[in-house]
Amino acid sequence: MTKTHLTRLQIIQAAKKLTEEFKKHLAECSECRDLVHFFSTFPVAGQVLLSEPPDSWTQKAIVVGKIPEKEGILGKFRARVIFDSWTTPQPVGIRGENGLSHRRLRFECRDIIVDIRAEKQKENWLFIAQAASDTINEILLKLDKRTINPDPDGLYQWTAKRPPKKITLLADKNEIELPELSWKKPRKK
């Protein structure tokens, strides 16, 4: 004859509260007793609480442990543009090319805010940048092939014939890449 066992629902209920009926059954059934005891220790058995991250997230987390420390880089992040004067409509009254010889940009990544002001001079572009963060003290600015240290006022200044293709921040062993921007002047509509 088949021995009667508690259903799954009864086991969950018994793990929460032992009624006389459950006590009677468990006194005679060690198999159900074991399971009830387990469910009272691990009430999560039987619940689906966790969900899986996208694969790309997992791969990025795995990479964290693969970057050799001797390179000094622990992680790579990508900043986003939160302000670009060239894509923002100019105030009424300002028009023509004047606005295009200057460009103001603001990038954001984690708690780092980077402001860059670019000014077209006769032959060169003059760049003045500032990086602010509550948690990171030292931020270096890496251009295509050179690294810029901040001056005593915390400003990064440089001139170049052409705007840099790639700007990267080195902040506390993290590399933060600023998105590449087009420096072609937007066409008038």
Binding site: K3, L9, E31, F38, P43, L50, P53, W57, T58, K66
Partner: protein, 186 residues
Amino acid sequence: MTDSELWQAVLNGDEKAWETLVRRYKALVYTVSTRAGLSMADAADCFQQTWMLTFQNRHKIKEPSRLSAWLVTTAKREALRLIRKANQINNVPLDLDMICDQKLPDEELDQLEKQAHLEIALNDIDDRCQRILRTFFYSPEDKSYEEIAEALNISPNSLGALRRRCLEKLKQVLIKNQYLVERKDD
């Protein structure tokens, strides 16, 4: 391998051990990140930064058997940092204690951690036992014992003893991993 063994391997520079740990706890970190009510972009940042901080601080973790608690705490802190930042941008006054209590209560985080432990232990026992226990743990609540036996294609007469043995195996893994304290009457 237990978390402590894996952690020792990570400290020795074993990349594979790190990958195993990430795969072990990715669902836990992801669930904490997403339950905090962050945008997907911020949740991705929270997830990545949790692993980053864990790796950066790996020499500071003194009790690797409590690694899951470390991950949960780090993910929670990161989530709150991002919530604070988002609210500052939007000029919303906020009460972090209230956010903690509402979105990530400790009791719920504890349950998430326990489920992660249970999943790790289930994956560490043989396939047959996994199947039996998963059926008991996750089948619809109203399924009778006989229906479960039929679904598993096992005689109801032998299922009870089998289930008991499998549960014992699971408990041993949980104890070995220090997810469960061995009791004298177990």
